[in-house]
Symmetry: C2
Amino acid sequence: LRIDVHGHVSAPAHLWSIRAGLLAARGTHGRPALPKQLSVEGLKEFLNAGGGGGPGGPHLKLMDQHRTDVQLISPRPYQMMHSEKPAWMVRWWTELCNDVVHNECRAFPDRFIGIAGLPQAAGEPLDAAVAELERAVTKLGFRGALLNPDPHENNGTVPPSLGERYWYPLYEKACELDVPLHIHSCGSHSVREPYSMNFIREETTAVLGLVHSDVFRDFPRLKIVISHGGGAIPYQFGRFQAMSARSGGPLFSEQLRNIYFDTCLYSQEAIELLIKTVGVDNCLFGSECPGTGTAVDPQTGRDYDDVAHYIDKIGFLSDADKDQVLWKNAARLFNLSAVQPRL
Amino acid sequence: LRIDVHGHVSAPAHLWSIRAGLLAARGTHGRPALPKQLSVEGLKEFLNAGGGGGPGGPHLKLMDQHRTDVQLISPRPYQMMHSEKPAWMVRWWTELCNDVVHNECRAFPDRFIGIAGLPQAAGEPLDAAVAELERAVTKLGFRGALLNPDPHENNGTVPPSLGERYWYPLYEKACELDVPLHIHSCGSHSVREPYSMNFIREETTAVLGLVHSDVFRDFPRLKIVISHGGGAIPYQFGRFQAMSARSGGPLFSEQLRNIYFDTCLYSQEAIELLIKTVGVDNCLFGSECPGTGTAVDPQTGRDYDDVAHYIDKIGFLSDADKDQVLWKNAARLFNLSAVQPRL
């Protein structure tokens, strides 16, 4: 079995057209309705016809080619626009995106499980995000949420570190609902650091912010997953390990045991380094496919984002280890049997 | 032979006391003079007595333990204060730091070679930096300079990407003098992203800024070295490789051939990934010792920053490959025989 914890929704252009309209009118034209193209039937037709994934698509065909049985899908993070005003527009857009994710899960109930986007309007309290997390899990059957550590979207305003109490209401709700929070930043206003690079920065920052805080003491049951293999953390591991050894506190390697990492990396060496550094128990198969990695490697003829293939090839993992990474850790952490009894 | 391209100056507290005084009076008390503790004789005495390296020291003893023959030393980047005002104070401080580096090189001419800090006062043109690069190379015998890609030191102001023409006067002067520019950011105003993490962010950003620009077309002889193993770049390599494959332009792997990376990473896995990803010809031994990595690994009893030891252990490198990484690439790139004929 292969459960991909890092997927995003595919939808026809009508979804992005709604976003364009919201921004153009700044939400003053009222809450947008879902057109039929974004209904359960509309999405079934779209995906069955080979749609999805922008340049990468078609979504279902890629899942089949990569032998991904189930994918956890969430709104496309770089389109979340948390830093735009007014806050209610951000909330409408997020709720609408979650409804589309929900419809896609209903259209293909054996293939997709929902992960929520949260209406984290920049500079606002987290009440709306907490409420939407509750709605998504209890009403839509979602099994987790993306958390954007920088709702200002790299516009020069420094958000609170993930170790700060600003985030506690969300951590509390995630623990109460027993669902993971998947750290994944969204847009970036900086032309020198576009969103894809800002993902890496924010994930690196997120790990340190959590590790150098009381969060796991205050929320021992909190489940945190870091996207894209943890940004730079596993590669720069020795730097932080040395700092912790010198400080005399717990070693960085011990502190990392509280944190899970997806394998959303597109080279054999990187995935091997990740698993060696953080351990089999803390790695979850994730591919973000279709997405940034959806291109054919001219040397091998394979898709860069056929991530399970890299995992399969790792010599130092037993078959049982591979099962842990490819699906068992995900099934346990996200408690997926709650929505798909076979998992 | 082992030539460490990434070292920083060690000096007694008098150096930092000058910095404190400059900041307290914002430069209005005039240009500070070098006290005798920072003269050639003073530094010789200080280092011979086992000084240096803050928590890490003693500098020379660590070099001997790690069998580092020669180290390229520059001012400590996190102390450069490029974002402070007025600009003339930044210039005075940088020139003074370079004079201290120069004195340390004169005190131990067989062990140290100078690399300049540049007075890159935030928001100012690069004239002062260009002039100081020229002084350092032609008058002090230095063989390169650190370039800080964010003189604003992460204060919310976005600096020009390294691909922008703002940097061209410096690239031009570096080519004219035939010395490398070593990318290494300095301070950080952000409490959620302190300087050590900001190094990683800025190095990652620097590589993409250069690769997605005309810089190497306009300056084919420009030599760029990225610190700390390239931030996140080698680990996230597949992400950028896939993007380049999809765009149909040159592959990211080809674009990286213009760029050199130091091995300033403190785990076996990371150094192996770096060399596998960018190749033997593009890696330079660097340790930043004494510095962030100066601590004993409780598992092995070795210093984390005994970086040459990791390189020595790599099974997939021949002895000739190891010589390339440990000193030959550096001797060639920095043209070190110009100042030490034996190299």
